[in-house]
Amino acid sequence: MKRSVYLLIVFLVVVFTSSCKDPLQLKPKSKLTTVSVWESASTVKAVLNNIYRGMGHGANQAQMGSMDDDGSSIPDLGTGVVVQSTVTPDNMGNLSSSRSDQFKWGPLYKYIRQVNVFLKKVRNAKIDPTLKKHFIGEAHFLRAYFYQNLMKAYGGVPIITKVYGINDKNMQPPRNSFKETVNFIISEADSAASMLPTVRTGDNIGRASAGAALALKSRVLLFAASKLYRVNPSGKAFTGYTKSQDPTTLWKKARNAAKAVMDLGVYNLYKANPAPGDSVAKNFHDLFHTQQTNESIMERDFTGSNRDQSQNYRPWQYHGPNGFHQWGGTTPTQNLVDAFKMKDGSDFSWNNPQEAAHPYKNRDPRFYATILYDGAPFRKRPSDDIQYDQDGVIQTFKKLTLPDGETVPGLDTRESPIEPWNGTYSGYYNRKLISADQVPHTGFYPGLWFYFRYGEILLNYAEASIHLGDYAAARNAIDKIRHRAGMPKLKSSLTGSKLMSAYRNERRVEMAFEEHRFWDIRRWMIAPKVMNQDAEGIDISANATNRADRSTYYNYNYKVMTYQKRKWRDKMYFYPIPQSEMNKDPKLKQNPGY
């Protein structure tokens, strides 16, 4: 008996003292340690894949387009402070929301660090040299892309290429000048272009290419030549040029960069020459719902798996009309609608009684591909709503008078019996991003977001050409765009500022809700004009003999009204650097006006 107890004690002592391994030396089960990551091509590639996510996408609920003259946000989501210019470094509204991470200081620098780490580590990774070259090229492209977004939002920013350690002493760099920032982006894009294939094929589709790097260069040089940075109202080096620049040199660079992409000869407009029977509107709409067309220079594809939700790519749910149980999201303004010309190329005017009586007739085909308006044929209503609309037609009229004198509101309005808080204020919904084929409520479906498409390059080329006085080249590029859209050519008499305003309108309607207008009105310095106009919408009334049957509607009456106050202050040319960052880095200089 006693002996066994002693045995037990000995046993316990042995158990506790004899383990030769440290019992506390455990390896993480759910994470890779840094060392093992750089040992194989597949893990190195996965690290790089993650950096692509930093490019984000612009299909968010509050798109950039909800903060310029093209649109507004239904649930506001902090866009109000932007369009009323009351943004402060403490309260940036939607500019600081996670919905627009791709333009935010912190998230962009987080991804820039990932590039910096990647470039530092990948050099010693034992992987195939060609693959390594491509990886390095992609990393340079991504770094250029992130700085491009910083440049658009903030101007010149600190250029960080080193990898900070948590105990580093000097972590408070000052801002680089606008010029240095642009030069850095260009050199990064050049490195990328020199290391990457022109286009990517097979399983590399969707990754950066030389074409994408050149397109990025075209965009950045177009910005760099633009008025905002040349005029540089504040005179600070981080908001533009401090010495006067020769505009011709800048525009030549911009034009050459666009030309370089065109000269690659691998891109064209999607359905550049519509076949006789084509619906040009459908062609144009399909462009945004067909993955990897010949127009695509770089796009982000979504597979429709629910995991893609992590970056909230849900255009249908976000932007679809409330009368289909969707959330409205970013809705077009009357200001944008009026920018669409008549199909014959003439201006639309409310003063033309014919046009004012039928404002949605005979418009630029892109109007029908971009905007959902009252009377637009769309898709079958959900079963509970068919009682009000058997035709699946958008109803944004405020008042429909029925034969018995009763008046009812449209299904897709804020007075709708269906989820009215998601109803549009303007009387319009976004069509460009949403496809009528989608099943409501699932949220996930395959789709894409363009980072660069060939259409933009043609427009970039045209803009630079106008500035260089090469009007014919400019018109030629614009006409390609117009031809695809089924619009007549520009008159050859259009030159100078008239051509410029035609170009600007073309760019606006062609690239609405593609995250361009917000920046364009700044770099052109037309924001003081367009953003001091209140957001306009449409107030429609009509009569009908049968509410559910659209063909019985008559006696339409359209009235333009304003629904959102807007105010421009010049500080809004740039984002403020968040106050929390200013607090932490005393060497940072705040953007003017904040």
């Binding site: 440290d22 030396q25 455990l26 993480p28 894949n49 948590i166 808080w421």
Partner: protein, 1036 residues
């Protein structure tokens, strides 16, 4: 008896195989027989199970159920030793008699209550630190489902807030002396010596709990790197010597919510929508006549519903049933206790899919195969079965608050009405129409404990424990489309308001096809320890020295799968789903602790007591070379009552003081490594490609938090120990708190900062108790006890930039104190707006924000850090007990004060308003009202920006339990061949007094948009329940 012994030996042998032990039986000599009866000295009742031993031998026996004993002694000149727990040991020479009747004096009067302190027990007299305990019999076993909840108000300084009453997911948060750190404040729970066993405290069967003690100060240093937040030690019951006893309890409860939010009715709500419309310059949406119809109860319910969603969505009561059976008994050498508990708790929703079932079994075996050896072998198992609809409880209650009062829950023909959005009609969400969620948790705990007194060396003993625990959780959530009905008003009216049912259209809501989420977790935990103890009592000096070592390892695996596109809702199994869009996920984790510890107690003349504690402990969480830390504690006590200069009036007067350093390692592991984890993926060539996401930058210096705890206390007992009083003051400095340096590291570095050991928090407070125990005669008995505590804290250091204005700094404020604008009132008119600094676009009816920095503008700089959070600073409980003959009464009050919560709803066109809000609101017609006007979602600046108007105090006092019991008289009971029979009724959460009028003060708010769907977080804002219970307990 022999059979029992045999069984015991068999079990012990089986159990001891683990330790390669063999145990021999014990031979008995056959000589002279002595018999007699042992009785209680004061009551005269026979005492069963009393130990009787022949002095100097191993011979002995125990008394039977009627207190009688009979056994053979070597000689009639021997001396017998009678010992019994809770009674003074009596030594009686036989002196040639063959019948020796003895009465034993109860020892409880002497206050020798033994308190579990970790790796052993101490008498309450000799305690030098702040340790409180509550015995299992004081827990409200009849009504509470969650054992943690039953601790609220029972232990001075223990803070309990119950955020949810959802069956199976009531969410009591326990904090010992409040909050101490910016990271994890969870105390360590040790059950039968096993730290953090799977299953924890919440779902232990309270009937199995013998005692719970709480280490509140440096005494927790015995748990080293895990002791800083205090330790809750739970000891379960063991078998008792004596004949087999069976106990049965049964409770049937009827429950209903304590307090529900009151929402505006349809007419008020529509009036407010008209106001909103008016504020936007638009005409009213609803005519006065129409609104009037919504207010009229005689209106056509098809056209003018006026819905109280809580009434529509909830039943008048739900059932809770509990039953328990225990069998215990044993011989001198072998004791057993088996218990079986079962519980069913129903949900309060109409057509509720919610119910929680719990089955606990526990077997506790103990044996003394020889005088020197004591063994315990416990096995317990538990099955928790949770059932819900597919929808999250927090969300259901959120929609009860939000849903339009002018929408019907059900149409008059019983079909569910439409929802605000996404099919979220709360009367349907809680039912199985939306699918089902089944969550089963299985726990298995086993433990073998041995205590061996080394022969020949008096006072030296060794102990060892080995335990193996296992848990397995499986969760299946099957979401199916459900149907809601919308009504075509126009057509109904147009056709002369006949046959309303035919104008209903059923619409499918929820996912397009059923979806199934299935997850499982599989974990185990092993513990081994060995302890040596030397305990001597040498006249004036007595000491107790303990050394030990302990190793604990745990691991867990997780697996989950998801499919959609089920052809039918009939088969909620994975195979029946479609492969498109399916996902699979899995993960694993493990952890280990290794430690060496010691405790030395020294007592001089029972006056001066010193205790030294040290634990040297390593945790896998930290890097090699920095894993181990030393955690010391010292405490001293001076029993003044034993000093001559103190009047004899004091039965007890003790001063105690303690100081110690304990650790907290409840942080994410491996922060010393640079790691990559798998991300959400990216898409190339229309295929998902993997992504690796960098983790935080490595912090090679990461270490545990250190709590420096000081405690001083006074304990007195006077009036023959009838009045006792205890009070402690404590102070803690928590250093090395892991906090982000993000307040000072610019984001442009791109660093994903690790937490670093830079934070510092001071916490302090008082806690104590006072109790009065009086017993008039045999028939009348009463006691009162009150306990309470105050705890607060202050951040001493947190990384924040210097440029932050003083009034916004976290430093110097309580943890969790938020930034708010100070709402000083309502702009009654335009004049007032122009008189005050105001936000752009302010209009009458808006809240006035205080211009704190006096710059004439309202900016983010005017926000002030308000020194309140959602933890109470004052907590306490009051228990009154009385007994008159066979009747027992008990009343228990519990209260919390000092906590606040932020209350904001998604009101306006998107949802309803609180009735209180509606009643107080400013309108152009009531320009002097002091509540803000009707608002729409977040459109008003004072809704979008957090301000003090919506920050409400949640102080409360509850009549937590009131019980009346009747014990059948002995005469009747003995006729029934029983030991005791008791019937009782009680009410739980009967009355709540609070200034908080927007629902239950403890229940978490319905979150505005938040939607957490993990099973752990799903309880949400399900209110606490008031329960009426009837029950009985039988012993035979």
């Amino acid at each position: 008896m022999d059979k029992v012994k045999q069984l015991g030996n068999t079990l012990i042998i089986a159990g001891s195989l683990l330790f390669f032990l063999l145990i021999n039986g014990i031979a008995c000599a056959q000589q002279n027989t002595v018999n007699g009866t042992v009785r209680d000295d004061s009551t005269g009742n026979p005492l069963p199970g009393v130990n009787i031993k022949v002095k100097g031998t191993t011979t002995g026996t125990t008394t039977n159920g009627s207190g009688h004993y009979s056994f053979n002694v070597p000689s009639l000149r021997d001396t017998l030793i009678f010992s019994y727990i809770g009674y003074k040991t009596k030594i009686v020479p036989v002196n040639g008699r063959t019948t020796v009747n003895v009465s034993l004096k109860s020892e409880t009067i002497a206050g020798q209550q033994m308190v579990v302190v970790g790796y052993g027990t101490q008498s309450s007299e000799s305690l030098t630190g702040s340790v409180s305990s509550v015995s299992g019999s004081d827990l409200d076993k009849a009504s509470t489902v969650n054992t943690s909840e039953s601790l609220g108000g029972k232990i001075p300084g223990l803070v309990m807030v119950n955020y949810s009453g959802e069956p199976g997911h009531s969410a009591p948060v326990l904090r010992i002396r409040g909050q101490h750190t910016l990271t994890n404040n969870k105390p360590l729970v040790v059950i039968n010596g096993i730290p953090n066993p799977p299953g924890g405290l919440n779902s232990l069967n309270p009937n199995d709990i013998k005692s719970i003690s709480v280490l509140k100060d440096a005494t927790a240093a015995i748990y080293g790197v895990r002791g800083a937040n205090g330790v809750i030690l739970v000891t379960t019951k063991q078998g008792k010597k004596g004949p087999s006893k069976v106990g049965v309890t049964f409770n049937q409860g009827f429950q209903q919510p304590t307090r529900l939010p009151k929402m505006a009715d349809a007419a008020t709500y529509l009036t407010m929508l008209n106001e909103l419309s008016r504020y936007q310059g638009n005409p009213p949406v609803y005519s006065k006549k129409e609104i009037q119809k919504y207010a009229d109860p005689n209106s056509n319910p098809w056209l003018y519903p006026n819905t109280n969603w809580f009434k529509e969505g909830l039943k008048s009561f739900s059932m809770q049933t509990k039953g328990n059976v225990t069998v215990s008994g044993g011989s001198k050498t072998f004791q057993y206790r088996f218990s079986l508990g079962a519980l069913r708790n129903g949900g309060i929703y109409v057509n509720s899919a919610t119910h929680y079932n719990r089955y606990n079994i526990r077997s506790a075996l103990s044996a003394e195969p020889s005088d020197n050896l004591h063994l315990q072998f416990d096995i317990s198992g538990r099955w928790e079965n949770r059932n819900y609809s597919s929808q999250n409880g927090a969300n259901i209650f959120r929609y009860m608050v939000q849903s339009y009062p002018n929408y019907p829950g059900f149409w008059p023909n019983g079909k569910p009405g439409p929802a605000i959005e996404l099919g979220n009609n709360p009367v349907v969400m809680g039912s199985s129409a939306t699918g089902s969620r089944h969550n089963d948790s299985y726990y298995f705990n086993s433990r073998l404990h041995l205590n061996y007194d080394i022969p020949h060396i008096k006072g030296l003993s060794v102990k060892g424990t080995g335990s193996f625990d296992k848990n397995f959780l499986i969760d299946k959530r099957f979401t199916t489309p459900w149907t809601l009905y919308s009504f075509n008003k126009t057509a109904y009216i147009a056709n002369g308001k006949k046959n309303p049912s035919q104008y209903l259209t059923g619409v499918k809501r929820g996912p397009a096809t059923p979806t199934l989420n299935q997850q499982s977790t599989n974990g185990d935990k092993i513990l081994l320890n060995a302890i040596g103890q030397y305990k001597r009592d040498l006249g004036n000096n007595s000491f107790n020295v303990l050394f030990g070592s302990e190793y604990q390892y745990s691991q867990s695996d997780y697996f989950s799968a998801f499919r959609r596109n089920f052809l039918t809702a009939a088969i909620p199994e994975m195979f029946a789903g479609g492969k498109a869009g399916q996902t699979i996920d899995g993960n694993g984790s493990h952890g280990a602790h290794m430690s060496f510890f010691s405790r030395i107690n020294y007592n001089y003349k029972n006056k001066y007591i010193v205790q030294l504690i040290g634990r040297y402990e390593g945790s896998y969480i930290f890097p090699k070379g920095k894993r181990y830390g030393f955690f010391p504690g010292i405490s001293v006590g001076w029993r003044l009552a034993n000093e001559k200069f103190v009047p004899a009036f004091f039965d007890e007067l003790k001063l105690t003081g303690s100081y110690g350093e304990t650790g907290n390692d409840q942080i994410a592991p491996y922060q010393y490594l640079n790691t990559y984890s798998f991300g959400a993926g990216y898409v190339n060539n229309d295929k998902k490609v993997p992504t690796l996401v960098p983790g935080v930058s490595a912090n090679p210096n990461v270490t545990w938090e250190v709590a420096k705890q000081t405690d001083v206390g006074i304990h007195t007992k006077i009036f023959n120990r009838k009045l006792s009083f205890e009070l402690h003051y404590w102070n803690e400095i928590r250093n090395n708190i892991l906090a982000f340096r993000s307040g000072s590291v610019p984001s442009l570095t791109g660093l994903k900062l690790p937490r670093e050991n830079i934070g510092k928090v001071r916490s302090w407070g008082y806690d104590g108790s006072i109790s009065w125990d009086k017993h008039f005669t045999k028939d009348i008995n009463y006691s009162i006890s009150l306990n309470g505590g105050y705890s607060t804290n202050k951040i001493k250091y947190i990384a924040e930039p210097k440029s932050i204005p003083q009034w916004q700094r976290q430093t110097g404020k309580k943890m969790g104190a938020g930034l708010f604008y100070i709402a000083t009132g309502v702009f009654h008119n335009k004049q007032e707006i122009s008189n005050h600094p105001h936000e752009q676009g302010a209009r009458p009816g808006d809240l006035i924000f205080k211009d704190v920095n006096g710059d004439g503008k309202i900016t983010a700089k005017d926000r002030v850090r308000i020194n309140r959070n959602n933890y109470p600073t004052w907590t306490g409980g009051l228990t009154l007990r009385a007994q008159y003959k066979n009747l027992h009464f008990k009343v228990f009050f519990q209260g919390n004060a000092g906590a606040s919560k932020y209350v904001r709803t998604a009101s306006g066109t998107f949802g309803n308003y609180y009735q209180q809000y509606a009643a107080r609101r400013w309108t152009p017609e009531h320009p002097n009202a002091n509540g803000p006007r009707a608002y729409n979602r977040q459109q008003a600046y004072w809704i979008a920006q957090e301000n003090t108007y919506f920050f409400r105090k949640t102080n409360f006092l509850r009549l937590k339990n009131a019980k009346i019991g009747y014990t059948l008289p002995k005469k009747i009971v003995s006729k029934l061949d029983m030991d005791s029979v008791q019937f009782y009724i009680n009410g739980y959460n009967l009355i709540t007094w609070t200034s908080y009028k927007l629902g239950d003060p403890e229940t978490a708010n319905p979150n505005l948009q938040g939607f957490q769907n993990t099973i752990q977080n799903r309880g949400g804002s399900y209110p606490q329940m008031r329960l009426y219970n009837i029950g009985f307990s039988l012993k035979f």
